[in-house]
């Protein structure tokens, strides 16, 4: 019935129709150097030396592409197959070093070196998959960590200095057609093509039956095995594809830097894709690439020894200098932990989740009542909602689980967040100035802090202890920095008093909770 209403389209048109957002992003990335050149009056493809705004942004984007490929390959193992890899640097470094050694030291041709590099990556992934056959879970993670570390230590050895260059690394000359100094736009397009190919490959793989088996292995390996799948073979597939892609990222890196340095084998090359896929969204297809872009570009803007922060829109005439260089690593780590604890499926997962909830809310409290009043709206809305009017009308008849006021009482934080979001976006759009929107958001969050803290305490009364101990540490540290013993004592006393008061309040709250009548009384009010 629904099928008859939809016109059949040409497969190509249908593909574009289904993936319009991806095509839009691709179009933007393809035209990006020219757009930047247009905006900044620089050249996208300067004839002699690659200087100027456009070339600079091209190199930043190339870096992002490399990281995106690495993160996507990482996600294939961790997010989709459930193999914890702490040694992705081994693949990446293999790509870099094989290229640099073969072309730089042995003068092998570029294309054959590329083949050998990919082959090396595949070989390593073969060793890994044999390991994955016997070694499971944490043990596999440690195996990969040790494996990558062996290569890292070997690259630094002086006895292989003639080969790897030891701590100094190697330089090599990149062929002209892909040279990022002489022909940057060409390399930009090449790297972009690599990202697109990787993306399509991963997407194809994960939408294929084999991809479903990989996800099944992640969720429950024993069940996948009892269903009759050869788990070893599928794991090998995932590790091989992942390894080859990571090696490809390494090759691109070697071209980009025209050399090899020991840091490409270090733990950082493993942690980076881990953080990127986690922040983007583990187990989602666009997540890792998005995470790579987010982190690399925000790093470009934020990680500076002197970043001037202009808070004029918040506080009148207030500018300050921040040394964000020293905060960057810490902030990244903190973001990582917050994501693992609170948003384990990353930006993409959280957006999907929130959007689903918002849609459900909109349907229950806005769409359904309106449609109940004016049934003809259901017919008009069909092209936007994609559901026939009969279905919409039938769904609209369902009663809401609770009234809007009950909802607001039950989820006060959601209400506050919604109001903040609406006010911020609304004012921002009205005045057509993003700073106004941001300042409204900050203002609303700031004034709602006491309410949020109280709600938090009602939910987790034991947080009172934390506050007491924290005050005991902080106050003397701020007041008497020079006298250690004195501040320890004052801190002790503050802690004792605070925790004492805290226990009293805690007992109060729990007593109220334990007494069912008071609970109903609270609920009634």
């Amino acid at each position: 019935m629904i099928d008859n209403r939809l016109r059949r389209r040409h497969p190509l048109v249908q593909t574009i129709f289904d993936n319009w957002l991806y095509f839009l992003v691709l179009l933007f990335l393809w035209r990006f150097p020219h757009l930047v050149a247009e905006w900044t009056n620089s050249e996208a493809d300067p004839a002699r030396r690659a200087v100027g705004e456009s070339s600079f942004w091209q190199s930043v984007m190339i870096d992002t592409f490399i990281l995106a490929i690495l993160a996507m390959s990482y996600n294939l193992m961790l997010g989709f197959t459930g193999l914890i890899s702490f040694g992705h640097a081994a693949f990446f470094g293999a790509g870099v070093y094989v290229m640099a050694i073969l072309v730089g030291q042995f003068k092998v041709s570029f294309v054959s070196a590329l083949m050998v590099a990919l082959l090396t990556g595949t070989l390593i992934s073969l060793i890994w998959s044999i390991a994955a056959f016997r070694i499971k879970g944490v043990y596999f993670a440690m195996f990969t960590l040790a494996f990558a570390e062996i290569f890292f230590l070997m690259a630094r050895l002086t006895m292989f200095k003639h080969l790897t260059g030891g701590e100094d690394g190697i330089r090599w000359t990149v062929p002209d057609w892909i040279n990022p100094v002489k022909n940057r736009l060409q390399f930009y397009n090449f790297a972009l093509a690599c990202v697109v190919i990787t993306f399509i490959l991963v997407r194809r793989l994960m939408n294929s039956p084999s991809g479903k088996v990989l996800v099944a292995i992640r969720d429950n390996e024993t069940r996948a095995r009892t269903l009759g799948f050869n788990v070893f073979l599928y794991k090998t597939l995932a590790i091989m594809v992942s390894g080859a892609l990571a090696t490809l990222a390494g090759i691109l890196h070697a071209i980009d830097r025209a050399g090899a340095e020991t840091s490409v084998l270090g733990t950082e090359r493993t942690i980076n894709p881990l953080i990127m896929s986690l922040i983007g969204g583990l187990g989602t297809i666009p997540g890792p690439a998005l995470g790579a872009g987010l982190i690399r570009i925000s790093e470009q803007y934020l990680r500076k020894p002197e970043l001037q922060v202009d808070l004029n829109f918040m506080i009148y005439r207030y500018r300050t200098l921040l040394n964000t260089e020293s905060y960057w690593g810490l902030a990244l780590g903190a973001a990582f932990i917050i994501f693992v604890l609170a948003i384990p499926y990353g930006v993409v997962g959280a957006t999907n989740n929130t959007w689903l909830r918002v849609r459900r809310w909109l349907r229950i409290y806005i769409y359904n009542p309106v449609v109940r009043q004016n049934p003809q709206l259901a017919t008009w809305a069909t092209p936007f909602t994609g559901e026939p009017s009969e279905v919409a009308l039938a769904l609209a008849q369902q009663p809401a689980p609770m009234t809007l006021i009950e909802w607001a009482r039950r989820y006060p934080v959601a209400l506050m967040n919604a109001i903040t979001f609406i006010v911020a976006v609304g004012t921002g759009l009205l005045t057509w100035d993003w700073q106004v929107g941001v300042s409204w958001a900050l203002f609303l969050i700031l004034i709602s802090i006491p309410v949020r803290v109280v709600l938090w305490l009602i939910r987790w009364p034991k947080a009172i202890y934390l506050i007491g101990i924290g005050l005991g540490f902080l106050v003397p540290r701020l007041l008497f920095e020079d006298d250690a013993l004195f501040s320890v004592m004052v801190g002790f006393m503050i802690t004792v008093v605070n925790v004492g008061v805290g226990i009293y309040i805690y007992r109060w709250i729990t007593a109220l909770r334990r007494y069912p009548l008071v609970n109903t009384w609270i609920a009634k009010r």
């Binding site: 016997r134 043990y139 993670a141 986690l278 690593g329 990582f336 932990i337 004195f486 009548l517 009384w521």
Partner: protein, 516 residues
């Protein structure tokens, strides 16, 4: 540990024999290669032993924590680094003025006093009193109660004694110190006589609570809940002053004696001791915070748990970099007391050895080996002989059943995590006396410790201890041969990691681990 199954015994003795034989073979190889040069040989062996002990300090925590909670804590190496940096911080801040010395002395008595009181108390109560008094049964109060009383009486006593002896009882902030001491003594007295005072307080609070709730019920015209009743167990006494005044008096006297003795010791040693205490405290606090805030919410998601500990290692390193910047801090060698500097044998022990006896072993190596051995034996005793050890060993097998028997397993988890962290932090400050302090030291130790824990079999403490020594000597021998061959000892860690990969391929659950 005490697996007595016949099949298991054969497997364990087999692999244990192979490990020991491997070590002996390595040592023989060194002996042959150096043509019987005892000086070189002893250096290689002692070097291997101290490396093994340092690795053990990280591996011990990893092993126990994994056995009990199935958490492989990748941040254990960072805890070692935290210990080293905190020790460095404390040492470099303390200037050698009279005032600081008095503070140090006070702090030491505050810590050592209670420990001695506790030990003496245990000894007298368990060994001497039963023989002297010939009573059939002597009631002990619980260990926790004892620690409470001992800490609360010993700390202020040590404080006062230290302050008086150090003649540092003048100055502005001393008023606060006196108030502090008085407050703590009051709490201690309260604790000692808790049967009278605390009982009264508890009765008051319970009575008040019931009255309040009844009042609320009356207010809303309802009947009071029957669950409102006072519950306390009058038979369960924490401490009885009448019975145990004798050991307590012993302890007090000893505390004063300790203060007297410490008053004449070298200031450097006091400082190093304070730094060690601070490092251990910092490490265990970091461990507790880690367990409660980060590990506990993720027990249901083991997959993310591993990733999280890996990220925690990064955060700790970045935090340390932010706090102390990235430059290496050098070793703590300059802060060491005199008897830990120089080579073995030290000057005051020269007479015990032949006149021409000299080695290239540093005193500090021997110190590290002794500390490591103490730690090894101490943890082994804790595991095998105490009630907490029984709970830990039972929890390794089935923590749910332990909880069903009435043990607060979560608290035990946190405690074990803190213990592992404290050992790692102690390893940190001990290694910092000899190795450069920088932000990568944690990662280096972590990898070696992981190798040890895996080869020894995850969750097997005895296996970890043995393997730590084996790996230490393997590393040292590998360094020896590569120094002769390539004139560098950089390949030594590679050998260990290769060994790890090899063992994982051959026996995925380690040499002494249980097959899953």
């Amino acid at each position: 540990m005490n697996a007595l199954n016949l099949k298991k015994i054969s497997s364990q003795t087999l692999w244990g024999g192979i490990a020991v034989g491997f070590t002996i073979l390595l040592m023989i190889a060194v002996l042959l290669d150096s043509q019987g040069n005892i000086k070189l040989f002893s250096q290689v062996v002692a070097g291997g032993l101290y490396q093994g002990m340092l690795i053990f300090m990280v591996a011990a925590g990893l092993s126990i924590v994994f056995g009990l909670m199935d958490v492989l804590n990748f941040a254990q190496g960072s805890l070692l680094m935290v210990g080293a940096y905190v020790g460095f911080d404390v040492l470099s801040r303390m200037s050698a003025s009279d005032k600081t010395n008095a503070f140090l002395l006070t702090l030491h008595v505050m810590v050592i006093g209670p420990i001695l009181v506790l030990i003496l108390w245990e000894l007298t109560a368990r060994l001497i009193l039963p023989r002297v008094m010939k009573t059939v049964e002597i009631e002990h109060s619980s260990l926790f109660g004892k620690i409470q009383v001992v800490a609360l009486t010993g700390v202020p006593l040590g404080f006062v004694v230290g302050s008086v002896w150090a003649k540092d009882f003048s100055g502005e902030s001393d008023v606060v110190r006196v108030i502090f001491a008085v407050v703590v003594v009051l709490i201690a007295l309260l604790s000692v006589s808790r049967n009278n005072i605390l009982f009264g307080l508890r009765w008051l609070s319970n009575e008040g609570g019931i009255r309040f709730r009844r009042g609320m019920a009356l207010l809303f015209n309802e009947e009071a809940s029957p669950s409102d009743h006072v519950d306390y167990d009058p038979q369960f006494k924490q401490f009885d002053l009448n019975k145990e005044w004798l050991p307590l008096a012993f302890g007090v006297v000893v505390t004063v004696l300790v203060a007297l003795v410490l008053n004449n010791t070298e200031v450097l040693m006091l400082r190093f001791g304070v730094a060690a205490i601070a490092a251990i405290l910092a490490g265990s606090i970091a461990g507790i915070v880690m367990e409660i805030v980060f590990i506990r919410p993720t027990y249901v998601r083991p997959f993310f748990q591993i990733v999280l500990t890996f990220g925690l290692a990064l955060v700790i390193r970045e935090g340390i970099e932010y706090r102390y910047d990235i430059d290496p801090k050098g070793t703590l060698g300059g802060y060491l007391p005199e008897f830990l500097q120089g080579t073995f044998p030290p000057a005051y022990l020269r007479d015990l050895f032949p006149a021409d006896f000299e080695t290239t072993i540093l005193n500090y190596w021997i110190f590290m080996i002794i500390m490591g051995l103490l730690m090894m034996i101490g943890v082994q005793l804790l595991l095998m002989r105490t009630r907490i050890g029984i709970i830990i060993r039972a929890g390794v097998q089935d923590s749910e059943m332990v909880e069903a028997l009435g043990v607060n397993v979560r608290l035990v988890f946190t405690g074990v995590f803190a213990l592992g962290a404290a050992i790692a932090a102690m390893g940190g400050i001990i290694s910092a006396g000899f190795l450069n302090i920088d932000t990568t030291m944690g990662d280096l130790f972590l990898l070696q410790a992981i190798a040890v824990v895996i080869i020894g079999g995850l969750g097997s403490y005895a296996g970890t201890s043995l393997t730590a020594i084996v790996i230490g000597i393997t590393r040292s021998v590998a360094a020896y041969f590569s120094r002769r061959q390539f004139n560098t000892d950089a390949p030594a860690p590679i050998v260990v990691l290769l060994l790890l990969c090899l063992v994982l391929y051959v026996k995925p659950s380690g040499l002494f681990g249980k097959e899953h």
